[in-house]
Symmetry: C2
Subunit: 215 residues, 2 copies
DNA sequence: AAGGGTTTGTGCTCACAATTACAATCCTTC
DNA sequence: GAAGGATTGTAATTGTGAGCACAAACCCTT
């Protein structure tokens, strides 16, 4: 059976809410409660989960810990993923310094840049490598995910190289509609696009008219 | 007529591609070409544009400059938008230093933080203000967009304050399912969620199996 | 000026995701 | 241990967006 990508995109949301509940010591949660917590309908949650199994108990709800473990397993969050950052300008450095990846099992193990002034520098316990050695180094020490934080003009090039090195998941901060072959997964982080689409609503909704707020 | 939010989300993509073409000196482009450039079907582009008018010429395509101007006007990109950044840790500083906002008409005019060590500092030509004065300052000098780069625990609080100050568009980097009232627009930037959903495919697609790559 | 080759705009169809609604199941209480 | 209240899992329905296909319109060439 083929699971809709939208469903996969929602699962991490569920795990996050469940983690919070778990830390608060909650044992059981209903789809109802989880739904209001996340701004999603209870039926949506139940249906999403039903793609993978039957995790709840009628009349009671879901065991927080058990469901969390299941989702971790389903998403592959019960292991470590190795990541490389390409480009350590302001953005790249912020990414290297972000503490939110490691607790979720995503660890940055390599960092690259093309600027000679940056190569060899030690940033956040990582020695910046020469971007020209990208291929060589990644073939020796493979990573699961590539994080692209280079200028737009060379982004496609970097992405192509990553793909050549067998990287199958790419998180791109570059403002280009990058193309990747089948079987390679690409997610883009595009704050400017987000702003631009919100501008439309700012412009067209006359200050306090009903309008859906979508994230 | 009500325009689907997905359509609005795609328009900025079109403007970006058109800008590139315009800089290259191109006069005319077909939906076909624009489509392959963006990884979108030509019919999709034509249909999206048809919500707003008839901008093309049969047998010829779209005048790049004219369509670009139209889209800029539709999206409200033909004016300046004022933004405030709340939280100037590593992430916030990277946002302040990002050069991609200004060329698109989005200008950061205020920056806030709660840390006394940061208040008063001059970063990227902006004096960091006390986050406790957020309300006071924003009421005097209103902004259109709030960029939230604070820790998760206080993010909802900050967002509530922004809303109270009349901010109707919020770009949140905080990893929480923030809630905003009707008429306020929220977009979230969530690299961790993106990674987590890609982990599913990494785990479940046996290295070079056909699989759609969605961004 | 006529014809051929393009490309737009759009009605229609199809596919898929969200919602509804309800039977089945479970827990708790009396 | 039976009854009542709650909640799940899912079949059926609804809603919506994407793709197809074609008539209308346009340009260019001869």
């Amino acid at each position: 059976m083929e699971i809709p990508p939208v469903v996969i995109d929602r699962l991490p949301l569920y795990t996050r809410a469940l983690s919070t509940l778990d830390e608060e010591g909650r044992d059981v949660v209903s789809s109802q409660e989880l739904g209001t917590l996340l701004g999603v309908t209870p039926a949506q949650i139940r249906k999403d989960l039903s793609y993978f199994g039957r995790f709840g108990k009628q009349g009671r709800g879901y065991n927080v810990r058990k469901l969390l473990d299941e989702l971790h397993h389903i998403l592959g969050l019960d292991r470590q993923w190795r990541m490389a950052v390409i480009g350590v300008g302001k953005l790249g450095r912020a990414i290297l310094g972000y503490e939110g990846f490691t607790p979720q099992g995503f660890r940055i193990v390599e960092a690259f840049d093309a600027d000679p002034k940056r190569i060899g520098q030690l940033i956040e316990n990582l020695t910046i490598r020469d971007a020209n050695d990208l291929e060589k180094i990644l073939l020796k020490s493979p990573v699961d995910v590539g994080i692209v934080a280079v200028p737009a003009v060379i982004a496609q090039n970097v992405i192509d190289t990553l793909v050549k090195c067998g990287v199958r998941a790419i998180l791109s901060y570059a403002p280009i509609p990058a193309r990747v072959p089948q079987g390679v997964y690409l997610k883009r982080i595009e704050p400017v696009l987000a702003l631009q689409s919100m501008a439309y609503y700012l412009k067209n909704s006359p200050r306090s008219t009903a309008a859906a707020s979508r994230s």
